[in-house]
Amino acid sequence: MTTHSLHRVAQVGEVADAIRTAAEHQTPLRFRGTGTWMHGGGPFAEATVLDLSGLSHVIEYIPGDLVITVGAGMPLSTLRAITAEHGQMFALDPYGDATGSIGACVATASAAPLAPSDLQMRDLVLGIEAVLGTGEITRAGGRVVKNVAGFDLVRLHTGAWGTLGALTTVSLRLHARPAIDVAVTGTAPIAVDDPAFSTWLDPIVANRAPLPMLVVIAPNAQPRLVARVSGNRARVAALMTRVQAFGVGPLQEHAIEATLETLRVTTPDVAMLRLRASLRDAARFVHHVRRTLPEATLLYDPARGALRVLTRQDATDALASVMATGGASYIRGVIDQGRRTVPTPSALEGQIKRALDPSDLCNRLMHHVTLPWDHARAISEPGAV
């Protein structure tokens, strides 16, 4: 993406003014939080950058409610520090950089490794303030943990990549930190390309314990099982026993923060794919991707069948090669980061874009009225075995 100027704002009114001015001149805007993931999504058209990092204050934090409302430009690291003071946490540590902004994480619906209770971003955003492409300042949701008042525009903005408007404020559900929260790791006794790999992975899938797990498969290395074990002492001991029963080498215990940092950090030169297949095909699916992309690092969630692929290959090529050769009865794939092409959006998506950003000012894609993810959709139809 090329940018031709940068405009920094610190108040929601300034965001609205900037968007209205952009509307008058029909010049697109590219929203930026702390600028850690400008290479994600897209490809975006040339645009004036609207820097939202000044919107970084706590607007309301009532620890007893386990809810915090902050400016969307607040870095995740700041959010973590503020909530930790009260023994609380925002339960996701999304892939990327810890200095990334919470607004960008919401806008991209960022996934996170070892998320407790299968939590996703859409589960944790209670309310938002967003300035639409019309310059209107709108609010959706609220600051309470249950809310069905009105149509759910919170979910619509979450994962919209800022294409419907600029997020300026987010209200988030927090969790109290459990008494113990650690990562345990152990090495698998068998390599992915061993024909008997399924005899190790299948029982993990079938008996998946109620705890977050990832099978980490680096190039030319034995798979490692990483599990997040949390709760009180008795529960943690019981879960450790379950993990041990999955036939990994001696378990090593690590601070959860250090493990999450290792798993989540990505660099701009790496393409990130999200793939998913039926758990019936778990071993075959992982083996297939390993064989197709031997240089990639794979993070496989054996509870959900989700596979995250980090590769230095061209993202489009990498995804196409996985999809073309099958490996499971159903594979779905999405590019999170890396070069892609952009086909036509669905009718509903196009209409929603026009409803909230009629002049296509907000994070305009390189091809007019197109959306960043449709490339993935077009080639992610059920694949042949």
Partner: protein
């Protein structure tokens, strides 16, 4: 195409009969009477005609027939909604209760694919042999349908730990009001693009009708402990809620019942052994891996005792736990003994504000001389102030209405919201402009316009028509809905 008046309906009757057969198209007053109301007293509305498709293809054909004729419609599941959302005033009602097949249970991927008319509790019952269940459990779960749950984004006691309907639906095949069929979401959950499924869930039938729904199933817990704590005051129980939440333990459920509710339950066939002299009880459940649960129970017991609980009991045997839960889940039914009508209200407040809000509700009930029974999801701050009354008494009805308005305003004033799980429907429409400004409401209208440009699906619900700038001058169907006793 413009929306055509109700007089068009007789003209399409024969077309609908051709789709479903004559037995499933009803237009006689006596046949339509059961659909005059939902679970909310005070509102009545009669559909011009009701049609009950028996298959997915029939449902799609019905919606297309209505689209071709430009006729508005209201989808209806079991009619257990409590906000008037399923009322059809002189428009066509599409009953979905015949679409009740469980199409697929996939125990490996822990998901099920169902038709919209499948009853919530039945889905859990039929997946129990696989060691699984469907977690959202509205109090009406023995009759309410998954399609209705999707429309309302229904909750329930166990949503404190497990999440609401939104968190458990992976994909929906949907027929849009114009008859287009599309799939929202992905059955394996790897989605991209706008969260169209997320905005569809809770759209109260205004965005179309789900023809098939794929839901997550959750493993049955290894062990469950249910705690009954007895408090000398509502305030003490409310303080205990905050204290339990702050411990970091996420109970599966954390429910409160006040004394009027306890007495109603204990006087009914649903008697659960609650202490009738208690000012308030908390029903708290922890579940999951067996190891460590007793430690959690001990921490919760201490939290309750620190907030002046008079007694704390723990049930682990299934029969004992079921008895405790029966009282909670049937509390609304038990209140039927008190008066002919019952308003079950729904609002959410920040959890730390529960003590002051409950005190304010008590003041409001004295001021308006109505009896408020509180039974609610305390762990979520999701209040259900219920008022038993005689809907035939105009004066009492007016006082109930005034009390409810005051309670809603109280919840808004403390930073809460007007509905946590029942939906806006008709009943909460007047409060939407207190909660959202004009631009925010208009953005909602514009999204509705995307799904239903002719505004024929559940017209007049959720967002006040006059709040939608493009709709100014439109005839609001809800305006002619009869608000009985209001």
């Amino acid at each position: 195409m413009s929306v055509r008046p109700a007089m068009t309906v007789p003209l399409i009757r024969e077309q609908l009969i051709a789709i479903t057969g004559p037995r499933w198209v009803k237009d006689r007053r006596s046949e339509l009477a059961p659909y005059d109301a939902d679970g909310l007293p005070g509102y009545r509305a009669t559909p011009s005609l009701a049609v009950f498709p028996g298959t997915r293809d029939e449902l799609i054909a019905v919606v297309r027939c209505l689209a071709d004729a430009g006729v508005p419609f209201v989808p209806r599941g079991a009619g257990t909604g409590l906000s008037g959302g399923a009322l059809a005033n002189d428009v066509v009602l599409i009953g979905l209760n015949r679409l009740s097949r469980i199409l697929e249970v996939d125990p490996v991927n822990r998901l099920a694919r169902v038709e919209p008319g499948v009853v919530n509790a039945r889905l859990s019952r039929e997946t129990t042999p696989f060691g699984l269940h469907y977690a959202p459990d509205p109090s009406s779960q023995s009759v309410c349908t998954i399609g209705g749950n999707v429309a309302e984004n229904a909750g329930g006691p166990h949503c404190l730990k497990y999440g609401v309907t939104l968190n458990h639906v992976l994909a929906c095949e949907v027929v849009l009001p114009d008859g287009t069929v599309t799939t929202l979401g992905d059955p394996f959950g790897e989605t991209a693009g706008y969260d169209l499924l997320g905005v569809f869930i809770g759209s109260e039938g205004c965005f179309g009708i789900a023809t098939e729904i794929t839901v997550r199933l959750v493993p049955l817990p290894d062990a469950v402990h249910t705690i009954l704590a007895d408090f000398p005051s509502v305030d003490a129980a409310a303080r205990a809620v905050s204290r339990i939440v702050a411990t970091g333990i996420v109970p599966a459920a954390l429910e409160m019942m006040d004394n009027p509710t306890i007495r109603a339950v204990e006087a009914s066939v649903y008697a659960a052994g609650y202490p009738v002299d208690s000012a308030a009880i908390l029903l708290c459940e922890v579940d999951g891996v067996a190891d460590g649960l007793e430690e959690d129970v001990a921490i919760i017991r201490d939290a309750c005792l620190a907030c002046d609980a008079r007694d704390v009991r723990v049930a682990t045997a299934a029969a004992d736990r079921q008895r405790l839960w029966q009282g909670r889940k049937k509390a609304f039914g038990a209140m039927g003994r008190i008066a002919p009508a019952l308003v079950v209200q729904d609002a959410v407040v920040p959890r730390t504000r529960l003590p002051e809000v409950l005190a304010r509700i008590a003041d409001i009930s004295h001021q308006h001389q109505v009896r408020v029974c509180n039974v609610f999801h305390a762990g979520d701050g999701n209040l259900h102030p219920n008022i038993p009354y005689d809907a035939g008494d105009a004066d009492e009805s007016a006082r109930v209405h005034a009390a409810m308005s005051a309670i809603m305003q109280t919840c808004i004033d403390v930073g809460g919201t007007i509905t946590g799980e029942h939906g806006v429907g008709l009943d909460k429409l007047p409060y939407m402009e207190s909660l959202f400004d004009a631009d925010s409401l208009d953005a909602m209208c514009r999204i509705r316009q995307v799904f239903d440009p002719e505004r024929r699906a559940n017209p007049g619900k959720v967002v006040p028509v006059h709040a939608c700038r493009e709709w100014h001058g439109t005839r609001g169907v809800s305006r002619s809905t009869t608000a009985v006793g209001r």
